[in-house]
Chain length 155, copies 2
């Protein structure tokens, strides 16, 4: 079952190489970026400024699906791809939670962004802590794993 | 720019009609469901049981893209589609945070699920509170909006 989706805009950031782009936005809370919607979708941004945090959905356009069991960036034990946030997944859909700064027409600025410059935007949803914040969730294998340089060869 | 994605499995729930399916999983914390991966993707579930909470990404297969400004389920004021979680969006990609219960091969059970029975599964990512929990986020127009029957005609 093939599903067609389309880019609705482009995410502009200072992260120009995979090697140096952040592993997660929370590790780079001050990294700013600009989200540009294609003009035909701009109307859908009405009231976006009511929210302090947004989910950005995007396409991992520079990552191909890879092995189903693999080494992630933050651990030296392999895990199933669905137990990781690695970009090389069967469907290359990424999400990141960013802080909304300011909108100007079809563009808005955000903070805490971890995606590569030029990444195709797929969707934006408001982050609602009542629905999306689960402080009791376990950390799984991420427990105690802190930010580090991406190991060479992990893509 | 068209991007092809594919279903990697099917989500089975007790929610058989749009009218009676939950608006958000948090409003129905005890609703259980089964996530079935197609066998060729099952290997990617290795270590999924390390996590208490998962993001499920799915396709809103019974919702078409609609107007960019619309009435959501929980408010009687229209908002831009990107300031809502409504299923009728330019790219019909949904997410829900569920609690993991138990895995048996290529299937696992979850709690707190709000999707329609038979929904195509697109991705699974572990929910990591350090990355994904932002209790300081504003509620925007969702503030004070509680669960209710879906108003007629909101699709």
């Amino acid at each position: 079952m093939i599903i067609n989706i389309q880019a609705i805009g482009i995410i502009h950031t200072d992260h120009t190489s995979k090697e140096h782009s952040p592993i997660q936005g929370v590790f780079h809370p001050d990294a700013t970026g600009t989200v540009e919607l294609f003009p035909e979708f701009a109307e859908g941004l009405l009231d976006i400024e009511l929210f302090s945090h947004l989910y950005l959905f995007y396409h991992f356009d520079r990552a191909d699906p890879g092995e189903l069991i693999r080494y992630p960036f933050l651990d030296d034990t392999p895990h199933g791809i669905f137990a990781t946030r690695h970009p090389c997944r069967p469907n290359g859909i990424g999400i990141t939670v960013v802080r909304f700064l300011e909108r100007n027409g079809n563009r808005f600025t955000v903070k805490g962004i971890d995606v590569l410059d030029g990444t195709p935007l797929l969707d934006i949803k408001p982050y609602i802590p009542r629905f999306d914040c689960h402080p009791e969730a376990s950390e799984g294998w991420f427990a105690g794993k802190n930010n580090r340089q991406k190991p060479v060869g992990r893509e």
